[in-house]
């Protein structure tokens, strides 16, 4: 192609290349452009997150700064009736029943849903990818789009009577809420788990199988281990969905601001209280501020969960070792 060329020609070419090496080219501009775009996007997302966090924090804190509610009373009180004053002339804003219920419902729903989601994910990735992707995946993704109200009504017409017949009581309570939420978070956890299991390189499996490991040993020791961080993310998003869900839960959990005494008594979550109350209160008043405080607590609890799950996930994770060359 190039072979031997005359010296002058080579010299000219060399000067040209030297110049090119020193000057920015199209590629450099493209990269500035790309970098700029991605930085703008992440800044935008950051601004969105910050603005909404700021919004909730300022309103949520107002209960304590403007209405002078005692923070501890808010967190540990069990009487919720922000429009009324108690015998000491203090507003009744004890959020503990809702905090406990939200916590129970979310954790239970995630605990119940995770084995099912992992079972389905493993089935679709390790056991029968063909059938799995063809039929199961579209149907599971379908579930995300069913409006909460529909889940709520099915829960109300099927699950609540079922629980009533099986265990007595009214049927409303944490158990009913958990069952409805379990179905609602299932698609999120399953889909994201599938993605993370799929991304475990094939040669990991081959290597393990070649060493004489059974399929389960391979799944258990290699695939799941390698996919742990992704699965944890899936669980976090599942719990987030459970946390934030209101319309469906509120129909089946009974929506009573009572301390839950077991899984079968009516109780109320932070979100359902927030959703039912917010349209009936006036901005800037204590009942309204108290609802925003619930939202703030919800955020903080979600943050704690997030950090906790990440912390648990760090132990035994192998992801960092894979990606070290990046």
């Amino acid at each position: 192609m190039e072979g031997i060329k005359s010296e002058t020609e080579d010299k000219l070419k060399m000067d040209g290349i030297k110049k090119e090496l020193r000057n920015p080219s199209k590629a450099t501009h493209q990269d500035y452009f790309g970098k700029a775009i991605s930085y703008i996007c992440i800044t935008l997302v950051g601004c969105l997150v910050l603005s909404i966090l700021y919004f909730i924090t300022t309103r949520g804190v107002a209960t304590f700064t403007e209405n002078h509610v005692n923070l501890w009373a808010f967190l540990s009180g069990t009487n919720w009736n922000p429009g009324m004053l108690d015998s000491h002339g203090q507003p009744e804003v004890g959020a503990l029943p809702m905090i406990v219920t939200s916590f129970c419902v979310t954790v239970l729903a995630a605990l119940v849903a995770t084995p099912f989601a992992l079972g389905v994910a493993l089935f679709m990735t390790e056991i029968s990818p063909q059938k799995g992707t063809r039929f199961l995946q579209p149907v599971i993704e379908l579930l995300v789009g069913i409006p909460s109200v529909v889940y709520g009504f099915i829960g109300l017409s099927v699950i609540v009577p079922l629980i009533r017949h099986a265990f007595g009581g009214t049927g409303f309570g944490i158990l009913a809420g958990t069952i409805v939420l379990f179905v609602m978070v299932l698609p999120t956890i399953t889909s994201l788990s599938i993605d993370s299991i799929r991304s475990v390189p094939m040669y990991y499996r081959s290597a393990s199988l070649a060493l004489g490991a059974t399929r389960w040993q391979t799944i258990h020791k290699v695939v799941l281990r390698a996919a742990t961080p992704g699965i944890l993310t899936a669980i976090i998003f599942g719990m987030a969905r459970a946390f934030g869900e209101a319309l469906a839960v509120q129909m089946v959990i009974g929506n009573a601001t009572l301390m839950p005494h077991g899984l079968l008594t009516p109780s109320s979550t932070l979100t359902s209280q927030l959703t039912t109350g917010i349209g009936n209160t006036t901005m800037g008043t204590l009942p309204n501020n108290a609802l925003w405080s619930l939202a703030l607590i919800l955020l903080l609890m979600s943050l704690v969960f997030n950090v906790l799950v990440r912390f648990i996930g760090k132990r035994g994770s192998m992801k960092n070792e894979f990606k070290s060359c990046k």
Binding site: M1, E2, M14, E20, L21, N23, P24, S25, A27
Partner: protein, 264 residues
Amino acid sequence: MQTYSFDQKHIIHIPTEKALTTENLQVFYGDNHAMHDASLEFPRYRITALIGASGSGKSTYLRCLNRMNDAIATVKGKIIYRDTNINSKKINVYEVRKHISMVFQRPNPFAKSIRENITFALRRNGIKDKQELAYRVENSLKSAALWDEVKDDLDKSALALSGGQQQRLCIARCVAMKPDILLLDEPASALDPISTAKIEETLKELRKSYTIIIVTHNMQQASRIADYTAFFHMGHVLEYDKTEKIFTNPQIKATEDYISGNFG
């Protein structure tokens, strides 16, 4: 493990035209001093082999030559190409890589068709003419000795090729860019002997028009194809000379032990 002195070195200068030179090249991964003081000269239109045990720093060194280590390591020292120190922030790395191209240890064709694998980068660099593209596809595949095997399947996915074919496609992909220097990082280590032989044939052909620097852990391979050979040990270059001298009459104890298999 036997320890060798790093003070004793035998590094020759190249009498002929130099394609690339490094001066006191040092690499740090965080606090880890991975490469000490490598000063080598690479002759034009020759094959130079970099040999050494795993972890000796030969791959690290190679990856510095077209600035692929930028993101993960700190590289100090000079890399002179065309009278220009290309190890500098002011240098346009994308231009560097157009002239100094790299083939990796594991074949990494794009998840695209065979044709697209070659034309993708060309088109992004402004070559739009269809005839020119077709000419380059054919030419590069021929110089990588792959043309006869794939000429009827150019629109098939590159991932459907065998490992050896994939690696030759990766070579063709670089060649199509018409670079000056080809860097190869153990290109045959993941391949069978037949594919390896084909790649070696290919390299011998390419040597006529390209300067080739190849990292290999296979000493036979180095002795078969390389004109010059550098021996790396624990982040130091201990010996650099013509290949036959390295293999028949090494000046350094470590080199001698390594090539005679008494190493470690």
